[in-house]
């Protein structure tokens, strides 16, 4: 599978990962992984701990540069772009180990992520010129609306660090959405949530996907959630792509069963 030829960059593909390899010293974290995510798709990425899922996210978002291979987004080569340039192009993410701006309020956290969609300069902002003030008001309104969307509308003024863990994850989703992404990367959004919260999260992901016509790449350990949500699933093991396809097919794949789903199959 890992040696499979790169998928042809079809018009429908939003993101193409083409034989991407990432080495840290002697460790191969991601080994010639290729797949493509179609526009509008909800694409799941699963695999045991240390399989290279988060590394793959870091490669796509520019936090880590790949050792080899190319990344294409909307047909453009984005390999090696710094993170802020990747974000500008409309790729937003959440982090496995929540990385909010802890001291700041929930509202500020979301407002910061409007950065690439706003344009006020230093002088205009400080002097409070008309256009900057209007933009500031719009930014605040949009951030407030996003907080309401993820169900945190009444706590916009609280410091992010005071939120319970599940709410921090939802706040991170609101922050990522503020970027107006076309591609949203969610890194274990259900981690640490109880079953009821997980169900609410599934509903949230479904509703924002439909409402904002998002393409979503989802890393998740909770297999039922992935099986339930995703259109297609890629399975990583020790940096290799070992299976790719519809949830039901992947679930029956002997390689996957051996590597990951063993006791659940």
């Amino acid at each position: 599978m890992s040696a499979a030829p790169a998928p042809a960059p079809g018009a429908a593909d939003l993101l193409a990962v083409d034989a991407v390899t990432c080495r840290f010293g002697g460790v191969v974290a991601v080994n010639e992984v290729s797949f493509a995510v179609a526009r509008g798709e909800l694409f799941g990425l699963i695999g045991p701990n240390g399989a290279g899922k988060t590394t793959l996210f870091n490669l796509i978002t520019g936090l880590t540069a790949p050792t080899a291979g190319r990344l294409r987004y909307r047909g453009d080569d984005i390999t090696g772009l710094p993170p802020h340039r990747v974000a500008e192009r409309g790729i937003a993410r959440t982090f496995q180990n929540v990385r909010l701006f802890g001291e700041l309020s929930a509202l500020d956290n979301v407002m910061i992520a409007r950065h690439v969609r706003t344009h006020s300069g230093l002088v205009g902002g400080v002097l409070g010129m008309g256009s900057a003030r209007r933009e500031e008001r719009e930014t605040r309104d949009q951030a407030t609306a996003l907080l309401a969307l993820v169900g945190l509308g009444d706590r916009f003024d609280e410091s992010a660090r005071n939120f319970p863990y599940g709410d921090q994850r939802r706040l991170e989703i609101a922050r990522a959405l503020a970027l107006e992404p076309e591609l949203l990367l969610l890194d274990e959004p259900a981690a640490g949530m109880n079953p009821a919260e997980k169900r609410a999260l599934s509903d949230l992901i479904r509703s924002v996907r439909a409402r904002l016509s998002l393409t979503i790449l989802l890393i998740e350990h909770h297999v039922p959630l992935v099986m339930d949500l995703c259109d297609r699933i890629a399975v990583l093991n020790f940096g290799q792509l070992i299976a790719l396809g519809a949830p039901a097919a992947v679930q029956k794949d002997p390689a996957v069963i051996e590597a990951y789903l063993g006791d659940e199959a």
């Binding site: 710094p82 690439v116 230093l122 400080v126 500031e136 970027l179």
Partner: protein, 312 residues
């Protein structure tokens, strides 16, 4: 009261100028960057003012025109800003303590250069810098508006798109970059603004101190500025300003206490001469009991809340 003001005129102006300098340390800190380069830009601004006012401008006898001081401040800010940009772009690739070390080196290099150039007067420096005011207290006409404008600038900055980007970098650089904030651009911007402000303070200080040499704006100043921020607090611009006002006034206040009659001679002696010891102890005790400084955003919110409540 009049004698009190006349006695302490030098102190009042020093306090206000120190508060502006403290803000020059706060600006890069807003973006999470510990830079102690501002004494270097302060020294540069001072030399620009000293050279221009003693060798280039030849005003009529009498008081030196205030507008020329303002021109020198603008030039000091401009030149410091350009140098800040040149130094900042490579220096801000460094992180944390390495940036601090690099900026200490920068301050040292500028000091050595000033010591060895003819135009800066070498070891003697430049003296007899003309006075725009008939007494030192009147320097407040420049220092106070400068402090007010700087504080207003930073206060407004914190509530703008650019300021939020700086604060995001301070809180989590990686997450900020993933949200589209360009780290290098914003760090260099904060550093350059800090350099400009320090250059302007240096220019007015050269007139105020009357003489300028390579002992101005040294590593000692860097340490003082860090103490201002450490004691005052680094999470809101109010902290460094308060820290600078208190710590600049403290030695004189101690001397004042020592001069009050009725205290044992050894204690009076200690208050007069042991100022640095007291200073050090206060900083040590302060960091233990007020690790975030005297003034924190939470404290300001509480005060603000009470004011709003009482207004109702």
């Amino acid at each position: 009261m009049a004698t009190f003001i006349a006695t302490y005129d030098f102190l009042f102006v020093s306090m206000v100028l120190a508060a502006v300098l403290a803000l020059t340390l706060y600006l890069p800190l807003m973006a999470g960057q510990l830079s102690v380069a501002s004494p270097g830009f302060y020294a540069l601004g001072g030399y620009i003012a000293a050279i221009l006012s003693t060798k280039v401008f030849h005003p009529a006898p009498g008081l030196y025109p205030v507008r020329l001081v303002l021109v020198e401040m603008a030039l000091g800010a401009l030149v410091s800003g350009v140098l800040g940009l040149v130094v900042g772009i490579p220096a801000l690739r460094l992180r944390g303590i390495f940036l601090a070390l690099a900026t200490i080196a920068f301050v040292q290099i500028l000091g050595v250069v000033a010591l060895n150039l003819d135009v800066t007067g070498g070891a003697i420096g430049i003296f007899g810098i003309p006075q725009p005011f008939s007494n030192q207290l009147q320097y407040l006409w420049i220092a106070l508006p400068l402090l007010a404008l700087s504080m207003l600038f930073v206060a407004r900055l914190e509530r703008t798109r650019t300021g939020r980007a700086l604060i995001a970098l301070r809180e989590d650089e990686l997450a900020a970059a993933a949200m589209g904030v360009n780290p290098t651009y914003h760090k260099v911007l904060a550093f350059t603004l800090s350099a400009m402000l320090a250059g302007a303070v240096g220019a007015v200080s050269a007139h105020f101190i009357n003489t300028w040499n390579s002992r101005q704006g040294t590593f000692d100043t860097s340490v003082n500025l860090m103490a201002f921020v450490l004691v005052g607090g680094s999470r809101t611009f109010v902290g460094p300003v308060i820290g600078a006002l208190i710590l600049t006034a403290l030695p004189e206040a101690l001397r004042g206490v020592a001069d009050v009659g009725g205290i044992p001679p050894w204690l009076a002696q200690f208050l007069r001469d042991g100022r640095l010891i007291i200073f050090g102890v206060l900083i040590a005790v302060g960091t233990v009991f007020f690790p975030h400084g005297l003034i924190t955003p939470a404290l300001l919110r509480r005060l603000g809340g009470r004011r709003r409540a009482s207004a109702r």
